[in-house]
Amino acid sequence: MTEHEQFAEDLALHALNALEGEDRANLEKHLATCSACRIELEQLRGDGALLALSTLGPKPPLRSRQRLLDAVAKESATELTSRARSAPDTRRSWWGVLGWAATAAVIVFAASLWKENSALKQGLASASAEAAQTTRELDDLRRIAAPIIAPEAQRVTLVAVKTPPQPQGKAFYLRDRSNLVFVANNMPALPPQKAYELWLIPTQGAPIPAGVFKPDAHGSATIVNPPLPAGMEAKAFAITVENEAGSPTPTSPVVMIGTGE
């Protein structure tokens, strides 16, 4: 970094968005051609993140969760409508009954809201009877969806008596967009220099790397959108233990696996 010392302090300010004017313009020009300084900038942002991550405070109010899920459901309803007009929806949330049920319940709930809204726009007189019917349907759906999506709902996983917490991974995969979210809990600690590697097992061909992760002190880890080939159908997801840099192919036995339906 010696040759870049002149930019060292500006990089720290830029990492906090605190650099301005000519200094900022000069640094951005330099960053466009200097990978070493780009890496240092990313590192400094990570250093700044420690300040943010260590901020403690009250939890957000319960209503925030519902507000977010309502907004997400509303956007999904719009998307669902446009998809229904173009092609059959091939997406499948294949992991777990609860995950599927929650997804399905929210989508159905949101679609019903959209339906209700559209019906009202068509005219008050003719819509009144239909609205009453829709309201009854909505009430039914709310009763069904509430235990699944309500923030105050208790979520309990039942295991055999005297069984210690079991490692668990949940993968949420949208094939047509190559979107993958993976959440793991209770993962055992790893030997030094080792990491867990997630694999997408396609219906044909070799396993595809889907992210390397190291669980935190509580065994939790998250992978969001690892690079994946487009449109790959997943027969299963699996986890092996690999060197921490990851491996292009599995080199050790599968320690966890989950298949679709």
């Binding site: 302090e9 500006d10 720290a12 300010l13 990492a15 968005n17 605190a18 650099l19 301005e20 200094d23 990313e42 590192q43 400094l44 942002r45 990570g46 250093d47 700044g48 993140a49 420690l50 300040l51 943010a52 991550l53 260590s54 901020t55 403690l56 405070g57 939890k59 957000p60 109010p61 925030s64 969760r65 507000r67 977010l68 899920l69 907004a71 997400v72 459901a73 956007e75 999904s76 719009t78 998307e79 609860l98 995950g99 599927w100 929650a102 997804t103 929210v106 989508i107 949940k170 949420f172 949208l174 979107n179 979210v181 935190d216 002190a217 509580h218 998250t222 969001v224 959108n225 690892p226």
Partner: protein, 166 residues
């Protein structure tokens, strides 16, 4: 782009909403405004999940930085200055679990406690109040170069503290 899986979003919210809300509240000092930033950050993740590159760092750290940036924009009543896809940071702890965050917070407070008060103040003014280096220099009456040095050495001190003990 609108994409995602709602139950996955609920999982991510349950895991990271405490971090996001705490950062927003620290910057804004107002629960309503912090709640708005919380919504905005998670909706951005929902609409554009590809903006986060898991190969480059932890989701918790990335969300914390995105939140801090959005909260500062809100505080200063300006349009968002940085696209979330441009926020790339190297690996930082995830700290999704409350107990881990408490330990990390204690460690950060320890590092800040060893800094000269003026250095700590400059770092906090830049990070949590979104002040530029020239604004800090004007407020404190100190040279620009001094402010730059204080902020950089402050960040490096945090890095070393976490590198040395993991």
């Amino acid at each position: 782009m609108k994409s995602g899986d709602q139950s996955a979003m609920a999982e991510l919210y349950d895991r990271y909403s405490s971090v996001v809300y705490a950062v927003a509240l620290r910057v804004l000092g107002d629960t309503g405004a912090a709640e708005d930033v919380l919504q905005e950050v998670f909706l951005q993740l929902w609409r554009n999940p590809g903006a986060f590159d898991s190969a480059r760092g932890s989701l918790g750290a990335w969300l914390a930085v995105i939140t801090r940036n959005r909260a500062i924009d809100s505080l200063r009543r300006r349009r968002p200055e940085t696209d979330i896809e441009d926020v790339i940071l190297s690996v930082a702890p995830d700290l999704a679990v409350e107990a881990d965050r408490s330990r990390a917070a204690e460690k950060v407070r320890g590092v800040l406690g060893t800094m000269p008060p003026r250095q700590r103040s400059a770092l906090e003014m830049a990070y949590f109040e979104g002040m530029s280096h020239s604004e800090i220099a004007t407020k404190t009456g100190e040279p620009l170069g001094t402010i730059k040095t204080r902020i950089r050495t402050g960040l490096i001190a945090l890095r070393k503290a976490f590198q040395s003990s993991g």
